[in-house]
C-alpha cells in the first residue's frame, strides 16, 4: 500500500467528506439525530418538562443529561453532524460554482456525430431537393426558433463538408437549473452563518404584568431573560409599557364551545425613552407590538387577586396583586402569598382561585367557567420560615413548606380560608386578617429582539426560489442537422439530451421538429 503522506491523507479525507455519498449519510444521520429531541423534553422549548423529568426519574435523567439529551440541538453530537454536513456542502459547492461559471460562458457543445444515439431523436425526409440556399435558410430558421425559445444557440460546420458551407445547429437551455441549485445551497450556509453570528446579538425575555402595572424595559424588570452571547445591557431601549386593561371575549352562542376564549386583547400605553407623552396600543395573540427595536408578544394571561394582610391591630403589613397561574381551561388558578414581615411569625399561603366556583359531588371545589361569575379564593396557611433569608433565589410561584407548619386546611382541624371579593377573614392563632381586595387580570408578555431576522428571511426566499429553479427548470440540449437522402432529397434530423430529470424533452424535440418543418412546408 503506498504511503499517502500528510497532504495525501488530508486530500483523501477532504475528497471523502465532500463526496455526495458522505453528504447523503450525513443527511440521514441528521434526520435520525433530530428525533430524540422530540421524545425527551428540551431545556429551551420546555424547561418545566425537564424539571419534571428530573423529579420523576432522577437516575435516568442524569444519564440522559450526560448525553446532552435535554439539549439535543446544541449538543456536541448534533452540532458535529450538521457542521460536517455544511463543510461537505461548501466543499461541493465551490468546485461546482467554478464549473458553472465556465459553463455559463461556454458555447453549446459540438453537435454529436450520430444524433440517432441521443435519447430523443427524429428524422424526417421532406420533398425538397438539397441545395445550398435551402440549407442556409433551414439553419437560419432553426436558430431563430431555438433562440425564441430562449436557447443559447451556435452553429458548427459539418465535418463531412470541407468547404464549411453546411452547418448543424447546437443549442442549450436551462442554465438557471444549476444557478438555482447553487443559490439554494449557498443560502443554506447563509442562514446557518447568520444564526451562528447574529443570534448572539439578540435577546428574549418574559414578564408578567398585572393590569395597572408598568414594565420598564430593563434587565432587572424581566421575570426571565435569555441574552445572546454578545448582549450587553446598553442594548435595551428603556421604554415603558403599562397594561391598562386586559379583555377577553368568550363564546356565548355555540353550546359546544361555551366559555371558550375567542379573543384576548391587551390595551397598553407605551412611553418611549425621553418622551413624556405616551400612546396607547393593543397587543393580541398573532399581533405583536413593535416598540424600541423589540417585538412584544402576548403569550398568556390569568387572574391576579389583590390581597391585603393586616396585623391584629389593623395595620396593613402586606398588600399586593398576586398573579395566579392557570391550571385548567376554566382558569382554576394556583398562587402563593408570602408575608415575610409585620406578623408575629412569617406567613405563607398557598391559594386556589376559582373564577366561577362550583362544588363537585365529592365536595371539592372547581371552576365551571373561565369568566368572573362567582369568584372565590381559598388559602392554606403556613407559618414558620419562608426561607427568604438564605439568599438563594426563590420562585414567587412556589412555597417551600419544609420548615413551615400548616395551620389551615386538610389535617389541621381548621378549614381553609375562603374569600370572595371584598371579604375579610381572620388568620388562625390571632395572627391577623386577610382581605381579598379585588381581582385583576394579568398578561404575560414576551419581549424579543432579533436583529438578524431580516437576513434569515431573505435567505429563506433565496432558498425557495433556488429550489424551484433547481427542481423545475429543465436543462437540455437540442440539435438540428440537415442531411441528404440517396435520392438527393433533404432529411431533417432533430435530437435532444436532458441533463437531469426532464419530463418535457421528447415534447420539446417533437415541437421543434414540427415548427421547423411547418415553416419549411408553408414556404411554398
Amino acid at each position: 500500500m503506498p504511503a499517502l503522506g500528510l497532504v495525501g491523507w488530508a486530500r483523501w479525507i477532504w475528497r471523502q467528506l465532500t463526496s455526495m455519498k458522505t453528504a447523503l449519510w450525513l443527511l440521514v444521520l441528521l434526520a435520525i439525530a433530530a428525533v430524540p429531541g422530540s421524545l425527551v423534553p428540551q431545556r429551551t422549548a420546555d424547561p418545566n418538562g425537564v424539571l419534571q423529568y428530573f423529579k420523576n426519574n432522577p437516575d435516568g435523567a442524569r444519564v440522559l443529561d450526560s448525553l446532552q439529551a435535554f439539549d439535543v440541538y446544541t449538543s456536541v453530537w448534533f452540532s458535529a453532524i450538521y457542521l460536517l454536513l455544511f463543510i461537505s456542502l461548501v466543499g461541493c459547492v465551490i468546485p461546482r460554482t467554478r464549473h458553472h461559471w465556465i459553463a455559463l460562458r461556454a458555447a453549446p457543445p459540438l453537435t454529436p456525430r450520430r444524433l440517432s444515439r441521443m435519447p430523443v431523436h427524429e428524422a424526417h425526409e421532406v420533398d425538397v431537393q438539397d441545395s445550398g440556399p435551402v440549407r442556409a435558410e433551414l439553419v437560419e430558421e432553426g436558430m431563430r426558433l431555438l433562440r425564441r425559445s430562449r436557447y443559447r444557440v451556435v452553429t458548427y460546420p459539418e465535418p463531412g463538408d470541407p468547404t464549411g458551407a453546411s452547418q448543424s445547429v447546437s443549442a442549450e437551455r436551462g442554465y438557471l437549473r444549476e444557478t438555482g441549485n447553487l443559490l439554494f445551497h449557498v443560502a443554506l450556509v447563509g442562514i446557518l452563518a447568520t444564526i451562528a453570528i447574529g443570534g448572539g446579538y439578540g435577546y428574549i425575555g418574559q414578564r408578567v404584568v398585572v393590569e395597572g402595572q408598568t414594565f420598564v424595559n430593563t434587565r432587572a424588570a424581566y421575570d426571565s431573560f435569555t441574552p445572546g452571547r454578545f448582549f450587553d445591557n446598553s442594548m435595551l431601549d428603556p421604554y415603558s409599557l403599562t397594561l391598562e386593561k386586559f379583555s377577553v371575549q368568550y363564546e356565548v352562542q355555540n353550546p359546544k364551545a361555551l366559555g371558550m376564549a375567542t379573543d384576548y386583547t391587551a390595551r397598553v400605553s407605551v412611553r418611549d425613552q425621553g418622551s413624556s407623552q405616551g400612546h396607547t396600543s393593543s397587543i393580541k395573540v398573532n399581533e405583536p407590538l413593535s416598540v424600541g427595536g423589540t417585538e412584544v408578544y402576548l403569550l398568556g394571561n390569568g387572574y391576579a387577586p389583590e390581597i391585603t394582610v393586616k396585623d391584629p391591630t389593623g395595620k396593613v403589613v402586606f398588600s399586593d396583586t398576586i398573579p395566579f397561574l392557570p391550571q385548567d381551561a376554566n382558569l382554576t388558578s394556583l398562587g402563593v402569598v408570602k408575608v415575610p414581615d409585620g406578623l408575629k411569625s412569617q406567613v405563607g399561603m398557598i391559594g386556589f382561585f376559582y373564577p366561577t366556583q362550583a362544588v363537585a359531588a365529592n365536595g371539592a371545589f372547581y371552576s365551571a367557567y373561565p369568566d368572573l361569575v362567582t369568584p372565590l379564593v381559598t388559602f392554606n396557611v403556613y407559618t414558620g420560615d419562608l426561607g427568604l433569608d438564605s439568599g438563594a433565589p426563590k420562585s414567587v410561584y412556589t412555597l417551600d413548606t419544609s420548615s413551615m407548619t400548616q395551620v389551615t386546611g386538610r389535617g389541621t382541624g381548621i378549614d381553609s380560608l375562603q374569600l370572595t371579593p371584598g371579604q375579610t377573614v381572620q388568620l388562625p392563632n390571632g395572627l391577623g386578617s386577610v382581605e381579598l381586595t379585588g381581582i385583576k387580570r394579568f398578561a404575560s408578555f414576551q419581549v424579543a429582539h432579533d436583529p438578524t431576522q431580516g437576513f434569515v428571511f431573505g435567505f429563506a426566499i433565496v432558498i425557495l426560489v433556488g429550489l424551484a429553479l433547481a427542481l423545475f427548470v429543465p436543462r437540455r440540449r437540442l440539435w438540428v442537422r440537415i442531411n441528404t437522402s440517396k435520392t438527393g432529397r433533404l432529411v431533417l434530423e432533430y435530437a435532444g439530451l436532458a441533463r437531469g430529470d426532464d419530463p418535457g424533452l421528447a415534447a420539446a424535440v417533437t415541437d421543434l421538429a414540427q415548427r421547423h418543418r411547418s415553416r419549411f412546408t408553408n414556404r411554398d
Partner: protein
C-alpha cells in the same frame, strides 16, 4: 344553524365514503382482471401515456440522463370496464367529499382545517384531488386501490376517532397563516402519499424484474400490466419534488407564523422538529437520486421512510405529543 351544516357535512362525508368503498372494490376487481391472461381483455386498445411527452412519434424511446423510460411499458392495454367504473366513482365520491369540506367550512365560518378531524377531512380530500389531477398527466389508475384504501382508513379513523363539533377558532389560530401554512402542508402530504405508493410498487417491481426467470402466477402477471421499476422511479421522483418544494414552503410559512405568534421563528417545538426531520429525509431522497449506489432501491426506501415520518407527524405527534402545536381538538 352551525349544527345543521355540520350534520349535512357528515352526511356528505358518509356518502362519499360509501362511494369510495364501491370504487375501491372496482379498482380491486380491475387489478384482479389484470392477472388474467391478456387475451381475455377487451380488444379496444387505447394507448396510454406513461409519462408526459410520450405522445411523440419519434423513433427512439424517450430517455433521459436521470432514468430511461421504457417505451414498451406494458400499460398500452385497454382500461378494463372495472377501472373505468372505479375512476368515475372516485370522481363522484370526491365531489361528495368536497361538498363535505365546503359544508364544514360554512358551518364553522372558516377554513375546514383547524383540528384533527378537519385536517383528516381536507387532507384526504387533497390526496384524492392530487391523485385525480396527476392522472390527467400520467396514468396512475393502478394506484387506485392504494389511494382509495388509504382514504377509507383515514376517513374511518377521522370520523370514529377524531370527530369534534364545530367550535370557534382559538386566538392562536386566528391568522391568515392558518389558511396558507396548513393548506400547503396538507397539499405536500398528498404528493408524498402518491410518492410513497409509487416507490413501494417500485420495490415490488425491482424484485420481480431481478429474478433470473420471469415469475409466473397471477400476481406476477398483474405486475406486468403496471409500469416497470424504471418508470415508477421517474414517476415517484417527479411527484416527490413537487411535495418537497411545497414542504419547504410549509416550513418557511410556519416559521413566519411562529415568529408572529410565539416571538421566535424557530424553537425546536416537537412539531417543528418533525417538520425538519421530514424535510431532511426528502432532501436525502433527492440527493440519493443523483448518487451512484443509492438510486433505485435505496432512494425508494427513503421515500417510504419519509412518508412514514409524515404519518407519524400527523397521527402521533399531533395527538400524543405535547408542544405548542396542540390544536388537535381532542
Amino acid at each position: 344553524m352551525t349544527t345543521s351544516f355540520a350534520a349535512l357535512s357528515l352526511v356528505a362525508l358518509y356518502s362519499a365514503m360509501a362511494v369510495y368503498a364501491i370504487a375501491f372494490v372496482a379498482f380491486a376487481i380491475d387489478l384482479a382482471r389484470r392477472s388474467v391472461p391478456a387475451a381475455t381483455v377487451p380488444a379496444e386498445h387505447i394507448p396510454v401515456l406513461v409519462v408526459a411527452g410520450g405522445t411523440s412519434t419519434h423513433e427512439a424511446p424517450g430517455r433521459t440522463d436521470s432514468g430511461p423510460l421504457n417505451e414498451t411499458t406494458p400499460t398500452t392495454r385497454a382500461h378494463s370496464r372495472a377501472s373505468r367504473v372505479a375512476f368515475a366513482l372516485t370522481v363522484l365520491a370526491w365531489l361528495l367529499h368536497l361538498g363535505a369540506a365546503v359544508l364544514r367550512a360554512v358551518a364553522g365560518g372558516r377554513v375546514p382545517w383547524a383540528n384533527m378531524f378537519e385536517f383528516s377531512l381536507t387532507g384526504s380530500l387533497l390526496i384524492v384531488g392530487v391523485y385525480l389531477l396527476v392522472n390527467l398527466w400520467v396514468d396512475l389508475r393502478f394506484l387506485g386501490t392504494f389511494v382509495i384504501g388509504l382514504m377509507l382508513i383515514l376517513l374511518g379513523v377521522a370520523t370514529v376517532g377524531f370527530y369534534v363539533d364545530v367550535v370557534p377558532l382559538p386566538p392562536a389560530l386566528q391568522s391568515a397563516w392558518l389558511v396558507i401554512h396548513v393548506f400547503v402542508a396538507l397539499l405536500a402530504t398528498a404528493f408524498f402519499a402518491l410518492s410513497f405508493a409509487a416507490s413501494s410498487l417500485q420495490l415490488v417491481q425491482v424484485r420481480r424484474e431481478s429474478k433470473p426467470t420471469p415469475a409466473v402466477g397471477r400476481f406476477a402477471r398483474m405486475l406486468t400490466t403496471i409500469p416497470d421499476a424504471q418508470s415508477l422511479d421517474v414517476i415517484a421522483y417527479r411527484i416527490t419534488i413537487v411535495g418537497f418544494a411545497l414542504w419547504t414552503f410549509t416550513l418557511m410559512a410556519g416559521s413566519i407564523w411562529a415568529e408572529r405568534a410565539w416571538g421566535r421563528y424557530w424553537g425546536w417545538d416537537v412539531k417543528e422538529v418533525w417538520t425538519f426531520i421530514i424535510w431532511v429525509i426528502y432532501a436525502a431522497y433527492i440527493h440519493a437520486k443523483a448518487t451512484r449506489g443509492w438510486q433505485g432501491n435505496r432512494a425508494a426506501w427513503l421515500a417510504i421512510i419519509g412518508f412514514s415520518a409524515v404519518l407519524f407527524n400527523f397521527g402521533i405527534v399531533n395527538v400524543f405529543f405535547t408542544g405548542l402545536h396542540s390544536y388537535s381538538g381532542l
